[in-house]
């Protein structure tokens, strides 16, 4: 990529000698950069800075006090549990999907790819509703579950399902392009040298996709910890029991406890910043080809 401020205006100056190439050469980029940064400031940076300002403008005292509240700590615990279950499951699933889809052509392949992407196309609230319709009181298994006294909705299991649902596609999406780029030559070489599929997978495939895989795991985790809509629908939002950190943020805000809301929001914002920094590092490791839309 060439990073020149210089527009190729020297070429026009040959055609029209009276034009002043230097003036155009400097102003257009500055104006465009200015507009871009102004827009980003209004939409991204000022709101992001505000999270930290609101949390700390009365010093560290209120922040630390809020951190020690039991409901807050329960919310952190719930969020960690959700991520600790949903992320590994989706990593394994994503790897399997990527392995099945990359470098292979079979009928229904494109369909499978679209299906895996489906959770991104469905509104989180709708995802939550779907889970309610399977496991809720009026749902498919509702009566069966009630008879056996198994709690899924308004409890952790449904929250895990909702979290896993919305964060499902990330790993597959990141790993498929890497696998496709790598091709199957090395795996085939390993096979011919007598390695079994398991050895080939761990010693050849995993090392070659490790950065893409990590990147996918990172995005899965960010989404799992930050999900609001789907979890809000199925959790019942019971403070101390089924309230995750994003739900805590919203409830505190609704109850005019802005300080508590921002104390929790800062933690989630830090999670986002760590995610972005790690992502930047991973992008350099992979040569930037993971850069695409989600």
């Amino acid at each position: 990529m060439t990073n020149n401020l210089v527009e190729p205006s020297w070429q026009t100056s040959e055609l029209s000698p009276q034009s002043k190439p230097h003036r155009r050469l400097n102003w257009i980029p500055i104006v465009l950069i200015g507009i871009a940064i102004l827009f980003l400031a209004l939409v991204l940076y000022i709101p992001a800075a505000n999270v930290f300002y609101q949390a700390f403008h009365n010093g560290w005292g209120p922040f630390l006090k809020n951190l020690s509240e039991p409901y807050f700590q329960d919310a952190v615990r719930v969020t960690l549990v959700l991520a600790a279950i949903a992320v590994p499951i989706n990593t394994i699933f994503g790897l399997c999907t990527a392995w099945a889809v990359a470098n292979k052509r079979f009928p229904g392949r494109t369909l499978l790819l679209s299906i895996v992407d489906l959770p991104f196309a469905i509104s989180p609230v709708v995802a939550g509703l779907m889970i309610m319709l399977v496991y809720g009181r009026q749902g498919w298994f509702g009566e069966w579950l009630i008879e056996r006294d198994i709690r899924i909705v308004f409890a952790l299991p449904a929250m895990v399902l909702a979290t896993a649902f919305v964060s499902m596609p990330f790993v597959a999406r990141e790993v498929i392009p890497v696998l496709e780029e790598e091709g199957t030559d090395q795996e085939e070489a390993a096979y011919t040298l007598g390695a079994n599929p398991w050895q080939t997978f761990w010693r050849v495939t995993v090392p070659s996709i490790r950065w893409g895989l990590l990147y996918g795991v990172l995005l899965t985790n960010a989404r799992a910890m930050g999900e609001f809509g789907a979890v809000a629908v199925v959790s019942g939002n019971i403070a101390g029991l089924t309230q995750s950190l994003p739900l805590f943020v919203e409830e505190a805000y609704k109850n005019y406890d802005t300080e508590a809301a921002y104390s929790a929001a800062v933690l989630l914002a830090l999670l986002a910043i760590v995610t972005l920094v790690l992502k930047e590092i991973l992008e350099h490791k992979t040569g930037g080809h993971t850069r695409k839309t989600h």
Binding site: P29, I35, L129, A265
Partner: protein, 255 residues
């Protein structure tokens, strides 16, 4: 893998479709076209569309600036574009509602002119712009990076003005990417709940959006109502997916 897909995706989807079938077409139609439902479609889709188009404009500008120019903090700005992907939507809604409220940092600048942003449709639009922005930038950026500058330089040297070069040389190959980005951003904005529920006052017929209506129906244990509105949203999402695939196929002519 298929077992997991069945458990996680097929079963819930099937549950929703069978639920919508038990409602019956007449009742389905009545709920889907009730005045409150119609008003939420209007608020959701027009606001999402406007937000996605504004993001389309500024997203292309940002992608252009990031690909073509060098300036201080460029790497930081480039990385920060993904903030809406990484920041939980509840946090986005919380801070946007504060900043754009009447006494917030930005909202207070507009308040003297009688413009309220937070807790109105404008606020919902800002939240939608926030969450959809990376879709446009990250779709356009790679295409812009791959474009060869020789073509533009050729246009310039053949005497085309900046304006002509932009419209005739740059824009046509970028157009499918821009449309894809806008469509992705739009479909994300339509389904958005976390940030929009916080920044909206959720007043029916004013700034109540469809996902919030679904949520409210569920809170009232009105599963039929929630299912019908969800089905409408899903239909729109599927149409959008088809449109995006179509645009991408069409865009391949420039590869």
């Amino acid at each position: 893998m298929l077992g997991y897909l069945t458990l996680m995706l097929f079963m819930p989807t099937a549950a929703m479709f069978t639920k919508s079938l038990t409602i019956g077409p007449a009742e389905f139609w009545r709920i889907a076209t009730s005045p409150i439902a119609l008003s939420t479609y209007d608020v959701t889709f027009t606001t999402s569309l406007i937000a996605a188009l504004i993001d389309g404009l500024f997203g292309v500008l940002i992608a252009w600036v990031l690909v073509r120019y060098t300036f201080p903090l460029k790497r930081f700005i480039d990385a920060s574009i993904d903030l809406p992907f990484a920041l939980p939507t509840a946090v986005a809604g919380l801070t946007l509602a504060t900043v754009y409220s009447e006494n917030g940092w930005i909202g207070s600048l507009f308040a003297p002119f009688g413009i309220k942003i937070a807790f109105t449709r404008l606020g919902v639009g800002i939240a939608m712009m926030f969450i959809s922005l990376p879709f446009v930038v990250r779709t356009v950026q790679p295409v812009l990076m791959q474009m060869e500058r020789e073509t533009e330089e050729a246009a310039w040297s053949l005497g085309a003005s900046s304006w002509q070069t932009f419209w005739r040389v740059l824009l046509p190959p970028l157009f499918p990417a821009i449309l894809t980005g806008v469509a992705l951003g739009f479909s994300r904005a339509v389904g958005e709940f976390g940030s929009t529920v916080i920044i909206s006052s959720n007043t029916p017929f004013r700034d109540l959006i469809a996902p919030v209506l679904i949520f409210q129906r569920l809170e009232q244990y009105d599963y039929a109502g929630a299912t019908v509105i969800s089905m409408v949203l899903i239909m729109i999402s599927l149409v959008m997916l088809l449109v995006i695939n179509f645009i991408q196929e069409w865009g391949k002519q420039y590869d």
